[in-house]
Symmetry: C2
Subunit: 264 residues, 2 copies
C-alpha cells in the first residue's frame, strides 16, 4: 500500500482536537471519513502531533497508507471535496517511502501563540487570538521567555494529563515579538509536553501584564511543580505553524506554486 | 443632545450589510438595538458609508446623537455588552460638536480587497479572502490599476443599483501588492460608487489571470459601459480599512493606548 504525507490546514474552533474520539468531531476522523467516501476504507491518518480542541494549524503533517495509487495533485482535491467542511483542507500530498513516519521522522515543530492587547476585542479575529484588555510588556515577556530556552525539566509547564514518559524537553528557540496590536510567542522544539505552549503563554502573560517579574519564570521552571505555573492560556490563540523533516522532504512538502506536481 | 463618533469593526459575513433593512440583520440595526437597550431609544446611527452584505470593516465610523452624556471610555463597553454579537464591536467613542457628520465630513475612505492565490483554499481565512486557484500576476495588476487612478467617469465600474447622482469619482491612490500567498488591492478616494471596488477587483483579476491585457482596463474605463466590466468580485475579500477626517479628529479616533481617555 502506497504511503502519503498530507499537509493540512484547519481552523480548530469547531473541532474537539486532532485525535479521533467518540461522539466529537476531530480532524483525524474528518479526514478518515472523507477517505472512506473515496473508497479508502479503514485507513488510519497518523498525525505529526495532537492538537487540542480549539487549537488551529497552518501546517499539520500526517501520513496515511492508501489502497490505490493517487496523483499527488488530485489527492488533496479529492479529500477536500469529501470532508463537507470549510474549516479543514488538505493543502498538499506527497507519496513517500513505506517507512516514512509523520510523527517519528519530524525533527522540529513550530508553534505560535497570538495575544491581542487592546481595550476592545477584535470581531475579525474571534477565536484567533487571546484578547488581553491591558497592554503587554513585550520586552519583559521576551526576556522571561529566554529562561525557557534549552533543555529542562518542564514539570511546571505540563498538564496533569500529559502522557509523555519524561518531563525533559529541549526548547530550540523561543521569542516574543510585537506585530501591530498583537504579541506573538513563537516556540520551536523537537517535541512538546501536553499544554506546554499554553502554559508558557499563560505564565508569560503574567509577566507581560506586570504581575510577575521576568525572573519568576525562572523560579517557576526551577520549582518543577505544576502549581508554580501561571494560568493555562486558552486554545484560541494557538497555531501549529510548521513541522520540519529532512531537507528534501521539507522542500517537497512546501511546494508553493499553484498546480505543482510534487510527487517525487 | 450630545453627538458621538463611533469607530466600529465588524466581520460582515452574517450581516446583510451596514444599512438597516427589514427582516435582515444589519450593523446599523444591531448598534441601534444595543443603544435602545441602554435606554437610548429611537436613535439613528449614521455611518460614513454603506457596506454591502458580507463586506468587512476594520475601521468604520458613524455618528449618533444620544439623550445622555456618556464617558468616551464607557460607551463602547456598554454598547458591546448589549449587541449579543461576537462579529461586531465598537472600538472607540468620541464626543464631537453637534454639526460633525460621519459621512459628509469624511475626506477619504480606504478599502482593501484581499485575493488568495494558491491551489487550495484557506480554512483559516474562510470568508476573509477571494480564493483564486491560479497564480495572479501582481505586476500586471498593479500596472493595469494605474489606469484607474485620478478623476474619471466610472460608469463601467458602477453597479446598476448605484444611487450616486454622478458617475464621476476621483481615485486618490490605487496599488496592488503581494503579501505572502495573498494579493492586496488598496484603493483610496473621497468617495466611491456602489460596487466600485468589487468591480475593480473582478476586472483586475482578469488581468492577473492573464485573460486580459493590462490595457483592457483602460479600454473598459473609456467605454463608460457597464458591460465592459469584468465579473464583480465577491464581498468576502473586501474590507473598509479607514475613514479620514480632519487631522485633529483622525488622531483622536485612532487613540491607540489601552484605556485611553479620548474625550476631547
Amino acid at each position: 500500500m502506497p504511503r502519503y504525507f498530507l499537509v493540512i490546514e484547519y481552523e480548530g474552533t469547531e473541532f474537539s482536537g486532532w485525535q479521533r474520539q467518540d461522539g466529537a468531531p476531530s480532524v483525524q476522523q474528518s479526514l478518515e471519513d472523507a477517505l472512506a467516501r473515496l473508497g479508502e476504507e479503514n485507513c488510519l491518518v497518523y498525525g505529526a502531533g495532537r492538537t487540542d480542541a480549539g487549537v488551529h494549524a497552518e501546517f499539520m503533517v500526517a501520513h496515511v497508507d492508501l489502497a490505490r495509487h493517487w496523483s499527488a495533485h488530485k489527492l488533496p482535491l479529492a479529500i477536500n471535496a469529501q470532508t463537507g467542511r470549510r474549516d479543514l483542507a488538505v493543502l498538499r500530498a506527497l507519496q513517500v517511502h513505506d517507512e516514512a513516519h509523520a510523527r517519528f521522522d519530524a525533527v522540529e515543530r513550530a508553534y505560535r501563540y497570538r495575544f491581542l492587547d487592546r481595550n476592545i476585542r477584535s470581531p475579525l479575529r474571534t477565536h484567533h487570538v487571546w484578547h488581553r484588555n491591558r497592554p503587554l510588556d513585550v520586552e519583559a515577556m521576551h526576556e522571561a521567555a529566554q529562561f525557557l530556552a534549552g533543555k529542562h525539566d518542564f514539570t511546571t509547564f505540563r498538564s496533569a494529563q500529559c502522557q509523555s514518559a519524561s518531563p525533559l524537553k529541549s526548547i530550540d528557540h523561543i521569542k516574543v515579538t510585537r506585530r501591530g496590536d498583537e504579541v506573538h510567542l513563537d516556540v520551536r522544539a523537537r517535541s512538546f509536553l501536553h499544554n506546554q505552549i499554553r502554559s508558557f503563554a499563560g505564565s508569560l502573560d503574567m509577566v507581560g501584564l506586570g504581575r510577575w517579574p521576568a525572573t519568576r519564570i525562572n523560579d517557576a521552571l526551577a520549582a518543577c511543580d505544576r502549581s508554580a505555573c501561571g494560568p493555562v492560556a486558552p486554545a484560541d490563540g494557538l497555531y501549529l505553524m510548521d513541522v520540519v523533516y529532512t531537507k528534501q522532504l521539507n522542500v517537497m512538502l512546501r511546494g508553493q506554486s499553484v498546480g505543482d506536481q510534487i510527487m517525487p
